[in-house]
Symmetry: C2
Subunit: 529 residues, 2 copies
């Protein structure tokens, strides 16, 4: 076992068996829309990857081995490459090109909370930076800790902490280890008759600890809420000791400090246990597709659903471009307009009643039913995005996403502003590209906007994307949106964090960090500069 690999590709998503070439239809569509042809752009071999020399001193290595056992300290090539950065497109492009210069010096796999505490003590003693590593699926640079000022960087992989610790069926609570991945968690819960209902696109590989550390939100957030709303209790291993929070469903005993741990991205401690609200397995699962005339009008219908407390479990609306590209969940939309996927999961009576009410409202708004098949198609492909991206990268193409959220009154301006900013930035780079968008998280007061950009890689795609993303984020800030709705800050969103929480917010986070991590060893450079 070398940690969180699960037999996956070191340069991409999923297992080698799941790798698929870019479909011929997508190739010809890209040629037609972008005017560029695909070209084979394979990753280098593992042996060709450039790694920095291991900086871990022998005494520090021995101390770590003494704490968790020598079998769980790895500094071999593959382990280090597998824990180098996360899974943003620029992360993958650099890995595929053989650049693993951000790799940790070693990977360690503690078995339990006490071993994490002991590990932190060793790392503080030897000035080793600690990068908590769950599924390794960060897309915001959350795993690329700054290595200046420390004697080495250790990836603390939570893969061995992967039990469902317990279920309180009467209270509908489950206590989970941090390294439990989405499928394993749900499989374990299912034996008790429960499910979590948290299904981000990274679900297959992301972990409970990562969900909490990044304030994740999943595809079923309309019905089941964000991950943070599912967290009832949390335990953090910090350099100053164990911190446990959450004695009740709700409390007025001062500020809710759970909310300070959620989204802390390993900068305050290592999440070693999470207590979650779970739900009974659904009696009914029904997904269906709808077509609406235009994105802004369709978004206004989602607004009504949310404000009337009529949301389904899943609500996902693609704009005209995403719909035309066949990514709206119901195949290429020859009839134009926007595709909307609606899913109902829950009690049979609720699903039937809700479906009738939502259906009536949609029909009144002029929506045309696309039926169950459209919903089933979306369900089949709900986790396919990262696989398709690998195929695009293999074919010399570039694909990346970014997201925001805003209040309903700001949403049309935010949508136009960000789309236009990306288009203008691509034009300034002389790169032909497609910009698509969907809404996948809906609240009474507003919604998310999730943008996907596809273009050819050309030369220097990492630097080019940096400029495009900066332009998009500037438009988000100017348009009143949040710089990230469900992907955390990492290193990528740091320049805009002050726009989000103010300089006072940064100072507050810094003071919390200094209190919990006085030596500054926890994920340095992540969340806070």
């Amino acid at each position: 076992m070398t940690g969180s690999d699960a037999g996956t590709l070191w340069w991409g998503w999923g297992t080698p068996a799941a790798r698929t070439p870019l479909p011929a239809g997508v190739r010809s569509l890209l040629a037609q829309v972008l005017g560029v042809d695909c070209r084979d752009t394979p990753p280098v071999g593992l042996d060709a990857v450039r790694l920095p020399a291991v900086r871990l001193a022998e005494d520090a290595r021995a101390a770590l081995a003494g704490v968790i056992g020598p079998a769980w300290v790895h500094d071999d090539r593959e382990s280090r490459v597998r824990h180098c950065r996360g899974r943003s497109t620029t992360d993958l492009l650099r890995l595929r090109a053989g650049d693993a210069t951000d790799a940790p010096d070693a990977v360690i796999l503690p078995a339990c909370h006490d071993e994490v505490l002991a590990t932190l003590a060793v790392c503080a003693r030897y000035r080793l930076a600690v990068v908590p590593f769950g599924g390794g699926t960060s897309v915001v640079g959350g795993l690329a800790a700054a290595c200046d000022g420390v004697a080495g960087v250790i990836a603390l992989d939570t893969a061995r902490m992967n039990r469902l610790v317990g279920v309180d069926a009467w209270s509908q609570l489950a206590t989970a280890d941090p390294g439990l991945r989405g499928p394993a968690l749900d499989a374990a819960l299912a034996t008790h008759g429960f499910t979590l209902g948290h299904l981000p696109q990274s679900w297959e590989y992301a972990t409970v600890g990562g969900f909490a550390a990044t304030r994740s939100s999943g595809q079923a957030s309309a019905g089941h809420g964000r991950f943070d709303s599912m967290v009832v209790g949390i335990r953090l291993a910090t350099p100053v000791g164990t911190w446990e929070l959450g004695r009740a469903p709700a409390s007025a005993a001062g500020p809710d400090l759970r909310e300070l741990v959620l989204g802390s991205e390993g900068a305050f401690g290592v999440i070693t246990q999470v207590r979650l609200r779970v739900r009974p397995l659904p009696e009914t699962i029904h997904y269906e597709g709808w077509r609406l005339a235009d994105f802004t009008g369709a978004a206004a219908v989602l607004r009504i659903l949310a404000q009337r407390d009529l949301l389904p479990t899943v609500a996902r609306l693609s704009d005209e471009v995403e719909t035309a590209a066949g990514l709206g969940g119901a195949g290429p939309a020859t009839a134009g307009g926007c595709h909307l996927i609606i899913g109902y999961e829950g009690r049979a009576g609720w699903a039937a009643a809700r479906r009738a009410e939502v259906g009536e409202l949609l029909r009144t708004a002029g929506a045309a039913a696309l039926g169950h098949d459209a919903g089933a198609e979306w369900l089949r492909g709900r986790f396919h995005g990262p696989y398709l991206r690998d195929a695009l990268l293999d074919a010399g193409m570039f694909a990346e996403t970014l997201e925001t959220a805003g209040f309903w009154s700001a949403l049309p301006g935010l949508y136009a502003g960000v789309r236009d900013a990306i288009a203008a930035a691509l034009a300034a780079e002389d790169v032909p590209g497609v910009v698509m968008c969907h809404i996948s998280h809906v609240y009474p007061t507003g919604a998310s906007l999730y943008f996907t950009v596809v273009c050819p890689q050309l030369d220097e795609p990492v630097a080019r994307w940096g400029r495009v993303k900066a332009a998009a984020t500037r438009a988000i800030v100017d348009g009143g949106g949040t710089v990230t709705h469900h992907h955390a800050v990492g290193t990528e969103h740091q320049p805009w964090l002050a726009a989000e929480i103010g300089d006072i917010g940064l100072a507050v986070l810094r003071s919390v960090k200094d209190t919990l991590d006085p030596a500054g060893i926890l994920n340095p450079g992540i969340l806070l500069p």
Copy 2:
């Protein structure tokens, strides 16, 4: 205008016109149950109240007057007495006995955020403690700042900041000043077709800023959620500047720092604006009563409602004692058992459908319908508790409440443990008393327990209650509950805060406090020791 008085009694609740004598039926019930007779115990006159000398130096007074105008700096007897402590029973007993030794040296009424900022600068310069004062309805000692180490204590009354700043109807958002009281806020919202849906028992006098500062939860929390769940944005005036939070319905841009301001009780800054999610005025308002055989069984029915997403807007279950005392919302329960009040407020279609589903579930559980009249009676009396308490105090009786919340699996033990601890503590004091309880806040994972204690005052009621409350809180901590579900920490719950959030939690709060309030002038001794 002398601040947040609104023509109310300086020693009690509400206006003099609302004062009522203890009903004869209650008198005879008390004699029968407790074996003690009522005796007239009126409050002293305002002139007889003992106040400490004003410590405010002339230059400090002039500086404050320079910032907000001399008309808005008050150090007259009545202003000071009116801002002395909050509205816990022990607060009132001490006031009624003429003890206003905790009174602030002066009361100031800034008109706006900028005046608050300027006030904080003056207070930092002259080492004056600042007690943010909304409705003055704290029941946990949240207004009795420590005065050692400072040159004086200033009550910063937000009464002049009382506008509904704006409504974004499309996003269902309202921006409110902190000094707006419940009725004024709802009246202003109603002109836009909206309501907030936050109705704690203190609603008539408590303010928006106080709701936020104390993590308040109202009687309609089953349907509309806690106050914290309604807060989308918040602005804080701190000694280090203005802190604004909340750009979107949800965000993953690090920890949710709004949750650090909610519940901060004036120790981190003065809340000067709150942005709230609002709801359309209900089409239907329907309340009804039910009778169930026993409290534990009835609580299990509420659990099912919550876990099936079938909660009404209001759900309030009184235990056998509270029901027998006629406080279960449907008059004295001659038939025994427990009374449950259920309210539906919202769209007509929703209310009818929900009422049918809930009714069926209740009937299946053996509940007997008490009809609409029982609900209407509870509605009429929903804010009467504090008035009844004044009448009890006038009659030489003592009445106080305390609350907790816990997970469903812990709830039966918590209920028995706290009830028994209160009874034992009263017995140890040789005081005959009645202990009642109700559930008024229900979640999928658990519920609140709200205890009411009625007994004769006898001698030293403040000290006696301190011992009883300590015993009850010890039982709460031992039983796995939270020390406060909706009344904040103040000074009363401080001894148990470490049991709730750990020493690390205290250190984190301290670091945040030191960052925002380096001079330590904000509500010293509140929230943190």
